[in-house]
């Protein structure tokens, strides 16, 4: 039992302050307004305050802290990306992740479990090798392993997958981890709050004031704010914001669903992903199996659930793990994924001066939280794109220079 829990037993009153202050009023102006108090928005606020000394910042949130995709994803963290741009960016992210609990003094349950992307076909094995080679070049711990190694990591799995899709091997990514997703937003939120950033929940942005191509202010459900810099970090709601200022983006919003089992005594150590069977699964510290599959195949700006999702995913789970037939699914949910054509994010400066985008996070946003915060805070503070996000800017589409990450997405598309 850690000593630091002692104070809870010894103190008459609960010895903890608020993690985030409540503010009755918005100020008239801020140096920076961040739209969206999810992991990304709060991380940017945190690093703006901590690394760049910019603390006159408001984070506006129409719902509550971490209530969007930060609280809806399946919490997998990895850096085994395919493009040099992606590999470097996510490698930075993973390194930041590893220190985050100590930085925040908040246990994020950052749990290093190892990550296997299963290959069921020749062509999948080729893609795994490609990813492994790129990863190794940039010092990222990835390796192609054979079916025997997969068996060793998860001996209870049916390697033939019910005969449908025998596993030939996998891309093993040792740093692959999971974390307690909500706590990430709280940690960044508390850190930002302690440094003077104001977080305003239940505050909706209704318009953005632009004069002569420059940001001048933000209209909200609680009044007008003057500011010259706006960072938009709202994932699936991005089109609603960009529409306000007439910026065109190639974003398509697709629902991404997930489901969770009842708590079971822990048995699944690694994180397993199968592109062919559309399954990714890990077991949390509470003992629940958290499972995802693939994007819904149509555009929809909605977080409704479908039954065919749980049907398909359960069927494939049982292909891999026949003994789960009597294990029960407790809950399913959905988030809105902002997909880009090349499966890389959409970050940095835009044609409107003072308007910065942190979007295009599709199905890969959670793991990027620290790196996105770090690079976006740099970009906003200096009005210059951070070098790690130069491959992710909006104008790459105008320049026909996509950053092709499709092969590294663990989600079927």
């Amino acid at each position: 039992m850690p000593w630091r829990l002692l104070r809870f037993a010894l103190s008459k009153k609960h010895p903890e302050p608020r993690m985030f202050r409540a503010h009755a009023e918005l100020k008239r102006s801020y140096d920076v307004v961040i739209i969206g108090a999810g992991g990304h928005g709060l991380a940017a606020a945190y690093y703006l305050a901590r690394d760049h000394g910019i603390t006159n910042v408001a984070v506006l949130e129409q719902g509550y802290i971490g209530g969007g995709n930060t609280g809806r994803n399946t919490t997998i963290i990895r850096s085994n990306y395919l493009t040099p741009e992606g590999a470097k960016f996510y490698d930075m992210s993973v390194k930041l992740w590893q220190d985050l609990s100590e930085d925040f003094d908040l246990n994020l349950f950052y749990s290093n479990r190892g990550h296997y992307t299963l290959a069921h076909t020749d062509s999948a094995m080729r893609t795994m090798r490609w990813r492994a080679e790129v990863n190794k070049h940039y010092g990222i711990d990835s390796e192609v392993v054979d079916a025997a190694a997969v068996h060793k990591a998860c001996p209870m799995m049916d390697l033939s997958c019910n005969g449908h899709a025998p596993i030939l091997g996998a891309l093993f990514h040792a740093p692959g981890s999971i974390a307690r997703h909500d706590a990430v937003a709280w940690g960044y939120g508390r850190g930002a709050d302690q440094r003077g950033v104001e977080i305003h929940q239940q505050t909706k942005v209704t318009g953005i004031e632009i004069v002569a191509g420059k940001v001048k202010g933000v209209h909200t459900s609680r009044g007008h704010i003057a500011t010259s810099k706006v960072l938009c970090a709202v994932a699936g709601s991005t089109p609603r914001i960009t529409k306000m200022i007439g910026i065109d983006t190639p974003l398509f919003i697709h629902p991404l669903q997930a489901m969770v089992s009842e708590p079971l005594k822990p048995w699944l150590d690694p994180i397993l992903v199968s592109g062919s069977l559309h399954v990714y699964v890990s077991q949390t510290a509470r003992g629940e199996l958290v499972m995802g599959a693939s994007l819904d195949p149509y555009e929809l700006h909605n977080t409704r659930s479908t039954f065919d999702f749980v049907e398909g995913l359960s069927s494939h789970m049982i292909d891999m793990f026949p003994f789960l037939a009597d294990v029960k699914v407790v809950r399913q949910w959905a988030g809105m994924a902002d997909m880009t054509p090349d499966f890389a994010p959409l970050m940095g400066k835009t044609e409107v001066e003072g308007f910065y985008l942190d979007a295009g996070w599709g199905t890969w946003g959670f793991k990027a939280t620290p790196a996105s915060g770090k690079t976006m805070s740099y970009t906003v503070a200096n009005d210059r794109n951070h070098e790690l996000i130069e491959g992710f800017t909006l104008d790459r589409f105008r320049k026909y220079a996509p950053t092709g990450e499709k092969g590294a997405a663990s989600v079927g598309h």
């Binding site: 080729r126 929940q201 009842e262 659930s305 749980v310 049907e311 069927s315």
Partner: protein, 971 residues
């Protein structure tokens, strides 16, 4: 606890005793018992241990919410997290409590409760995270968390699924649901009725309350008989969720029925809510409705001597039911003030304006008594004035929360009714109706009226959508007559705590105050930080009280605090039911048997299985493939290419349509000729390739890649819908078989089988003909994928085997040999022909392939053209090149090994193989433009980090002038 004397309507069959064990001890129950009811009847008081503190727990609801009595149940294998309160008893069943170390009686983890002061809400966020120590603590956590245990020997199961349709689906077979079904049946609707209990009737058969109870039960039985006769009834079944357009999966014991209804009546009732006071979790403290279920269904007296905590009429009804079965009532404690008492048996002590200060435990941890204290004006209890009552049962009847998840999922607008102290639907979407307790209507007669109104409306709506406005609830009168079914704040602080708000997660009242103090003061954040409602019962007994507590903290109403989203599943559903039998389509060409007979070794190709090569006895895989390649190059070979997508286009605009979708030009294309085409997406990325044959002025036939057929067809259909051209598109992939006959002797093999003039002059390379081959109507395409004289012969699938046999027969003299995918891959590589998705990836554009000959940029339009034009003005990012390996002995690269230049990745190998024809290792690579000139050196990093060198070379590697595929007939 003993069984009561036999009574009419009990669910148990005393003629069928069943033996079973719990925690290794043998017991006996009856058919019709659940595991919990049999254990209660046998006098077992502690059925499980709680999640965090491992406190002894037992039955709370006996209605599928007893998460603290989850069991591991074994027969031939072991099933985790079985809900003992509703799982039917079976002969020989073996059950143990989940989540104990060493059994439920002596759970060694019970010491965790002593640590409770150190473990405040969210304690795990506050410590254990030092990097060096987290792995240790994580192992500790992972040893202690989780509930049931997975049995790895459990066998694969997949239950069948059914589809069903009805006019009106009524969910819930209690009084309101039965009345709804009756009314809908009367209106002539096809009705389906779902109830989670094994028998219809719901509270109509157990919430009797003495005097008029029998009349109500009689009416309930009458309605149940009508429903059973007229409706499709699913008992022991529950609606897992409500999905768009009245799509409701019904989980029955054996399988899922996917129900599409025209209208839905949600009559799911309400969850009785626990009161919050110290030790409200002791075994023996139960919901009043649970006691009534025990009495009526299983003929069990819940206790010998009871205290009833009441705040509504239902509590008094329960007291009367207890008394009717001879249970002594120590006191009825009423949270309400004077003049609110209901009828009680003579001599019963009623303490109005009192509450339970604490419950007291015996040595086993079960209830032995309660301390009852008067309520102060501010709603708190005065512990100094508490009186002790001995009792072994405490019934809580202080309020209800509507079982509304399905309504939330359907998009109903819910509002908080201050009169009812309950969230009730304010407006339902079209075709969805609420009735009974979930609708805020309490009281038997009111529920019948409300149900009948909903049933009538649903039936009318199902006949004529839009005829009934479902938005405005027409139940105002019934709601008004429902009294005050729920107490606004049946929640009591105690200096020593252990007043649980959430039994799943062991959350105490102070945890909520502390969470709010830390800033988690809206309901969603509160849920996520405290984990209230995140346990297996998903907050059915905790959310409402959590909302009340938060409202109190914030000084708002529960309506202002709002509730969290109720996602499916309504109750947890086994994955075998959800997964069903699984559906993994596998396709076989009509030649599968021929390949098998020829010892094919199979490989998957999309949904298909294709011969990778044909095994030869005493020969290695490599040798067999080499022999196949040699046959094609030296004589003749056949390969089954029936897996290629095959699509036919008809219509006046067919030619113009092709102009738009392929990069090749079709304007001047003659009937009887073919073209190779690349298909691009709008960004210029290559998505497919194939051969297009013009069979008539308005008739085309073309192939796609094996994996592309469905997506290409779908995309063409989409484009045609958009462009509105006069084109008919038919996917004939399965209708036709296709065999590629290739090799210098192929003309001689084919000639005896057809009257068609095969001479190079009349049927040249890239020609297409329709003719009889081996007596079959055939389409013949002169193609050159493998780089030899060749004929791709397409015949109706039914004739494939015949054609194959005839080719093998006439080919025998020429040394014909079937060849597989591996040989074809090598043969095409020698020609430098690409395979889309192997030599290209999701961002490879057409300009990067070095196939400019296939890109007719002077056409007015094709999909991807504008992007190519724009990219044509920009420096290229990569180029596809051929290469040969310099020193094959230094190591063999594999596909996707990287090309390294100046210590940075500068490309990758996409295809590589040793070519017998060239005598070297050859390959294709996507490389940086600077490395793409013929003669450039490629430094390739192979396994183990070693470097090997290759040189960019011209393609084709073999027969660079493409003479062999145009080979004329020998005179």
């Amino acid at each position: 606890m003993k069984r009561l004397p036999p009574q009419a309507g009990e669910w148990i069959d005393r003629g069928k005793p069943l033996r079973f064990t719990f925690e290794g001890i043998g017991y006996e129950g009856y058919a019709g018992d659940t595991i919990s009811s049999a254990l209660l009847a046998a006098g077992v008081r502690v059925l499980g241990r709680s999640f965090k503190y491992h406190r002894p727990r037992s039955v709370l609801s006996l209605a599928n919410h007893d998460v603290n009595a989850l069991m591991q149940v074994s027969s031939c294998f072991s099933v985790p997290n079985v809900r003992a309160d509703v799982t039917p008893l079976a002969e020989g069943l073996r059950a143990t409590a989940v989540n104990t170390i060493g059994g439920v009686a002596r759970d060694r983890a019970r010491f965790l409760e002593w640590l409770a002061p150190f473990l405040p809400v969210g304690f795990y966020y506050k410590a254990f995270h030092k990097k060096s120590q987290f792995p240790f603590w994580e192992r500790v956590f992972r040893r202690t968390t989780g509930l049931g245990t997975v049995d790895f020997s459990a066998r694969r199961k997949g239950s069948p699924k059914r589809y069903a349709f009805c006019d009106v689906l009524v969910i819930g077979g209690g009084p309101a649901g039965l009345a709804a079904a009756d009314a809908a049946l009367r209106a002539g609707a096809r009705v389906a009725l779902v109830d989670e209990n094994p028998r219809l009737g719901g509270s109509g058969l157990y919430n009797l309350g003495g005097a008029d109870g029998e009349r109500q039960a009689e009416e309930t039985r009458r309605l149940a008989a009508i429903a059973a006769a007229g409706a499709v009834v699913y008992v022991s079944s529950y609606a897992a969720g409500y999905y768009a357009d009245h799509w409701v999966p019904i989980v029955t014991p054996g399988h899922v029925v996917k129900m599409r209804a025209r209208a839905v009546v949600v009559a799911t009732g309400a969850y009785e809510q626990p009161a919050v006071f110290r030790n409200n979790d002791l075994p023996g403290v139960i919901l009043a409705s649970a006691a009534q279920r025990m009495l009526a269904r299983y003929s069990i007296a819940p206790c010998k001597r009871a205290v009833v905590l009441a705040a509504n009429d239902d509590g008094y009804r329960a007291a009367r039911d207890l008394a009717a079965h001879g249970v002594e009532i120590a006191a009825v404690v009423d949270l309400r003030g004077a003049n609110s008492r209901g009828a009680v048996p003579p001599g019963t002590l009623v303490l109005e304006g009192h509450g339970i200060h604490e419950a007291l435990a015996d040595s086993q941890g079960a209830l032995r008594g309660v301390r009852v204290a008067p309520l102060a004006r501010d709603g708190t209890l005065d512990g100094y004035q508490a009186r002790e009552f001995e009792c072994d049962g405490l019934l809580m009847s202080t309020g209800w929360a509507g079982a509304a998840p399905l309504l939330y999922q359907a998009g109903a607008r819910m509002e908080f009714s201050a009169e009812l102290q309950q969230f009730v639907p304010a407006a339902c979407p079209p075709g969805v109706y609420a009735a009974g307790r979930v609708n805020g209507v309490h009281g038997f007669a009111q529920k019948l009226r409300d149900g009948a109104a909903a049933g009538r409306a649903a039936a009318a709506q199902s006949r004529k959508p839009g005829s009934v406005d479902g938005a405005a609830p027409s139940c105002r009168q019934e709601r008004a007559q429902s009294g005050m079914p729920s107490h606004p704040y049946p929640i009591f602080a105690h200096p020593k705590g252990r007043n649980f708000v959430d039994f799943d997660e062991d959350l105490q009242l102070k945890d909520f105050f502390n969470a709010a103090q830390e800033g988690f003061d809206n309901i969603e954040l509160m849920k996520r930080y405290s984990t209230v409602g995140m346990g297996p019962s998903q907050g059915k007994h905790s959310n409402m009280n959590a909302i009340r507590v938060l409202a109190k903290i914030l000084g708002r109403t529960p309506g202002e605090v709002g509730s969290t989203t109720a996602r499916p599943m309504f109750h947890p559903v086994p994955m075998s039911h959800l997964g069903g039998r699984g559906f993994m389509p596998e396709r076989a060409t009509p030649l599968e048997g021929r390949h098998a007979a020829a010892s094919a070794v199979w490989m998957p190709a999309g949904q298909w299985q294709r011969p990778e090569y044909y095994a030869v006895e005493n020969q290695t895989r490599e040798a067999a493939i080499r022999a196949e390649v040699a046959a094609v190059r030296g004589a003749v070979g056949v390969i089954d290419v029936g897996t290629l997508g095959k699509i036919e286009l008809f219509g006046r605009d067919a030619g113009a349509f092709f102009e738009r979708i392929y990069t090749a030009k079709f304007a001047g294309m003659k009937v009887g000729s073919t073209r190779y085409g690349l298909m691009l997406d709008e960004s210029g990325v290559v998505i497919d390739d194939g051969v297009i044959a013009r069979l008539g002025e308005e008739h085309f036939y073309f192939t796609t890649t094996t994996t592309g057929s469905a997506t290409v067809y779908r995309e063409l259909t989409r484009l045609n819908a958009m462009w509105r051209m006069e084109v008919g598109i038919v996917n004939v992939t399965g209708h036709f078989a296709a065999i590629n006959l290739a090799g210098p002797r192929s003309r001689e093999v084919l000639a005896p089988l057809t009257a068609l003039d095969l001479s190079e002059a009349t049927f040249p390379y890239l020609g297409a003909r329709e003719a009889q081959v081996a007596g079959l109507p055939a389409r013949l395409l002169r193609v050159g994928f493998v780089g030899e004289l060749g004929y791709e012969i397409h015949v109706p699938a039914s004739g494939a085997a015949h054609l194959w046999d005839q080719l093998m027969k006439t080919g025998a003299a020429h040394g014909i040999r079937p060849f597989g995918v591996e040989a074809q891959r090598l043969l095409r590589l020698e020609k430098g022909h690409i395979i889309v998705s192997q030599d290209t990836d999701g961002v490879t554009n057409a300009l990067e392939l070095g196939m400019d000959w296939a890109l007719k940029m002077d056409k007015p339009f094709f999909v991807g053209q504008r992007s190519l034009e724009a990219m044509g003005r920009l420096p290229r990012k990569q180029a596809l090149v051929g290469f040969t390996l310099d020193e094959p002995d230094t190591g063999m690269p594999k596909e996707c090994h990287l090309v390294i230049e100046s210590d940075e990745p500068a490309g990758r190998i996409t295809s590589i193989a040793h070519s017998p024809a060239v005598g070297r290792v050859i390959g294709l690579a996507l490389v940086a433009p600077a490395l793409s000139k013929v003669g450039s050196t490629l430094n390739i990093r192979i396994d183990g980090g070693r470097m090997v060198r290759a040189t960019v070379s011209e393609t084709p590697f073999y027969d660079p002038k493409n003479l062999r595929q145009k080979q004329p007939e020998t005179a």
